[in-house]
Symmetry: C2
DNA sequence: CGGGTTAGCATTGTCGACAATCTACCTATT
DNA sequence: AATAGGTAGATTGTCGACAATGCTAACCCG
């Protein structure tokens, strides 16, 4: 379907590095508190320290890394307050996304989201898979709003969410409940019921906070 | 009031550079579409290209600069769609901020905001001053929510807002209307009327979009 | 034995130089 | 005259080396 002739956007090296590090952080390969030694990392990635530092600056800007002058960069260690704040931010973004979807083709959007819920139900029993699909659901939700800014902000918090999930995988509740929550949300969007969707989203986020911070 | 003994946070050079560029972009010193030549800028700022590039990476991440490989970095030229998207993002953030303020000490917050409105009324007649105070109002609103993430995201969009204001300063409507809008919002927050504040905020943003994109 | 000082080490911060790439202009050919 | 090709200039991308800073630990002195 896609044409063979397209702009062929060559990504810049810092951009690739930033993506790699984001993935590594999200997947628990770089644990919170870890120091990222520049010389070491540069060797492993096969680049020089210049581009590497540029890539890391981006993650610092996103709040995934914290810089201490003349000490180095460290993976953030999230406190309970951070988790709460992160979900506050996600809630803000996803509510806005849902609101915008309502103004557009909410039926098509609802169908796409229901398809993801379907996958989630199929994956039940495999907590890791359900977690990934859960994230995919929210990513798609924001993507469907068609807002570059909402998407860009959301990407950051998705990484932070992954961090949390990996940090306490066993605590993560079994999936029956979550499939239901997502399904109701997708249906509300499909039906164009904006107020209901909004309420569900808020409740969903509160649930998540409770799950992650209670312990 | 502040103690003489404080953490004395020495900001890193890239951080200072990023701030300087942000200000320059916001205040119209760097017009949309301008190319930022590295060698030239480095000379002007008195630093080498390394730290400069790191600072610019941050602005690229924020969306204030766009990078074209092997061509350089340019100040974004905002389209009407961009303006709309920016206000969508700001609306999402500020609504969340207002909502969180309601859960805390909304009286104190309302009073602080009313003080700013008072300043705005006093500055009536000077469009530039009113514009700055307008921005200060929204900055404070988000700051009062006490959310690091909301504040960080908001800072980016404040710069974009400044860009727009500077780009079309004369088009900016006279201030009577805006003072009223802000005052009602501050009062709603003072009174703890969350729903009303939310409605006012949405209307206020829609107004702003209309002002900036109509033309 | 404890506190303070100092030397050494490791890591980050900064810089200058070289290589790769793109744009613009000029020339030659059809 | 118009277009294809080539060349020169400038700019970015990348790298390696040096300087500055902070931590660690051994050592000395009270």
């Amino acid at each position: 379907m896609t044409s063979y002739i397209e702009p062929l956007a060559q990504e810049s090296t810092p951009s690739i590095i930033a993506d790699k590090l984001r993935k590594a952080i999200g997947h628990g390969e770089l644990k919170p508190g870890t120091q990222l030694g520049e010389a070491d990392l540069a060797r492993k990635l096969g680049v020089s320290r210049g581009p590497l530092r540029e890539g890391m600056q981006r993650l610092t800007q996103e709040g995934l890394l914290v810089a201490i002058r003349n000490r180095g960069l460290f993976v953030v260690d999230m406190t309970a307050d951070d988790v709460q704040d992160m979900y506050l931010a996600r809630e803000a973004i996803e509510r806005a996304a849902a609101r915008k979807i309502m103004l557009g083709d909410h039926k098509a959007a609802g169908e796409q989201l229901l398809a993801i819920v379907h996958d989630m139900a199929a994956a039940e029993g495999d907590p890791a898979a359900v977690g990934e699909i859960d994230i995919a659901f929210h990513e798609r939700l924001v993507e469907l709003a068609g807002s570059p800014r909402l998407s860009r902000m959301h990407r950051t918090y998705i990484t932070e969410t992954r961090m949390c999930i990996h940090a306490l995988e066993e605590t993560y509740t079994t999936s029956e409940v979550r499939v239901g929550e997502h399904q109701r949300l997708a249906e509300a969007i499909l039906n164009g019921d904006g107020l209901h969707a909004d309420d569900l989203l808020v409740a969903h986020m509160d649930d998540a906070i409770a799950r992650l911070t209670s312990r």
